[in-house]
Amino acid sequence: MDLSVRIRNSVFPNPVGVASGVFGYAKEYELLVPLQQLGAIYTKAITPKPRAGNPAPRLAETRWGMLNSIGLANVGLSAFRSQKLPFLRSLGVPVVVNVAGSVEEDYAEVIRGLESEADVWGYEVNVSCPNVRHGGQSFGSRPEVLHDLIRLLRPLTDRPLVVKLSPNTADIAELGRAAVAAGADALSAINTLKGMVIDIHKKRPKVRRGIAGFSGPAVLPVGVAAVYTLSRAVPVPVIGLGGIAGWEDAVQYLLAGASAIQVGSALFRDPDLPVSILKGIRTYAEHQGFTQVGDFAAALKWEEVG
């Protein structure tokens, strides 16, 4: 069975990656996850300058999920290159750098700064972070703005450009089409949803910024629907994530049309998930007689009704 996934000129050895923001720069999970077995590592969002992030507290638990308001806290481009990339590179696993910024030029600066670095597999353009006031989601909610951003970035690299979309939008298919028309090689969905939890005793939100990013098992159906919709709207691979907490969830994404998946916040609870999910996908595929990842999407027994 061949579970590799091709995007543009590059290949993931298997479809199970770890999502941006939950895995830091991979070193943090060195003692808990067999890193070499990962299909891809999506780094924490990188911005041109270091970012301290949002005020505390930044996290809250919800029913079957969580809120985060990290605010893209990261070491910045320069320290990423000198301090984080050498370890990531040593793993021999595809490293997808999640790129974020406040203005178009921020995204361009990060990509330009990494083009000379060997062993960056590709870029995941984060236009869907709900936790920053400027940029982030504003690029990911207006198709024409997204189109202009991707058109600016496309000539900067021959590496795969994955555009990560937000579910906080009226028409995700339109956004996906705009990104692909401008040169995106793949789409990933979903980033977090906007959410808020109020502490009824303190009569204030549990997270300092109030509205934060909602993720975890509770959002699984939102992600599956987004991937189903996108995979029918665009001719490029779609990478599914949101709420995956077991191999069955990952298989739902693959059946919905995803070519690969990412494990997000459920990894906090169970760092063995990437390995157990890959095993589950393999066993399921064997039982179904699938020989490649594409067989999953083709196997969905359903036709839309009026």
Partner: protein, 267 residues
């Protein structure tokens, strides 16, 4: 640090509000130190999503057994209190920097441990650890209700004083707050340093008290954690030394009280 699964050995109710869980410590792991914590994956009803951090409350090197002291506050901690011997614990640890202990047999001044609430476990471990090293220790603990006061067995040599905010009080317990005990102690004796863990309001007031008197104070901060391994930046503690935020799970959970930006904590 690694993830391990071990059976619960004993569950001991030490007061109306504390249950101590003992379990075997894997032989290949470094011995845990006071102030370090474990991240537990707990099956509860209703279920919880994130793992939960708990400080180590003791370590028995001769039997290679560790313990945590659980204060029930919600689904996960209540489920832990109901866990029966033989049931499995899902543990990631040990994590975090311990209390800053420097062996110094020439300094007769005591290390003063002050706390309450969830601080009882880690401070009990600190007291045990220091006494094993023949350090002078003073333990000051505060409780809201008399029924909360735990039956702790401290080795010979600890000077223990308890405070409780409500009567009727057992013999020798001070009616009032643990801060009263601390202030009273500082008036009479000079501590080498203070280690503390407990409710945020208490930590802040104790930290201010120590700062004003020039006493070094280390605080074990309770912060919401996501990954508990330094990856998510969720457990940010604001600091005033130019570093912005530090991670409670990685640079903490024990911090020098002088660098914590208490106003930024939103308590």
């Amino acid at each position: 640090m690694r993830r391990f699964f071990v059976p619960l050995l004993t569950s001991r109710v030490v007061s109306e509000s504390y249950t101590e869980l003992r379990f075997p410590w894997p032989g290949d792991l470094r011995r845990p130190l006071p102030g370090q914590f474990l991240s537990l994956g707990v099956n509860s009803s209703p279920p919880v999503f994130l793992r939960r951090p708990f400080s180590l409350s003791g370590f028995d090197g001769s039997r290679n057994e560790a313990a945590v002291m659980v204060l029930p506050r919600g689904p996960a901690s209540e489920a832990l209190c109901r866990l029966r011997p033989g049931e499995m614990l899902d543990i990631i640890g040990p994590r975090g920097f311990p209390f800053p202990y420097h062996h110094n047999t020439h300094d007769p001044r005591p290390i003063v441990l002050v706390g309450g609430g969830i601080g009882v476990g880690p401070l009990q471990f600190a007291a045990q650890y220091l006494l094993e090293r023949h350090e002078p220790v003073v333990l000051l603990l505060g409780f809201r209700e008399p029924a909360m006061i735990p039956a702790l067995e401290f080795p010979q040599g600890a000077r223990v004083r308890l405070a409780c905010e409500k009567a009727p009080l057992p013999e020798g317990v001070h009616l009032g707050k643990v801060l009263d005990l601390a202030e009273d102690f500082f008036d009479r004796e000079e501590p080498r340093e203070v280690w503390t863990c407990g409710p945020p309001g208490m930590l802040h007031r104790l930290a201010s008290l120590c700062l004003a008197r020039g006493i070094a104070c280390s605080v074990l901060m309770e912060e919401m954690m996501g990954c508990a391994v330094g990856a998510c930046m969720g457990c940010a503690v604001p600091v005033n030394d130019g570093r912005g935020y530090l991670r409670a799970c990685t640079e903490g959970p024990v911090f020098d009280a002088a660098i914590v930006d208490w106003e930024g904590l939103w308590t």
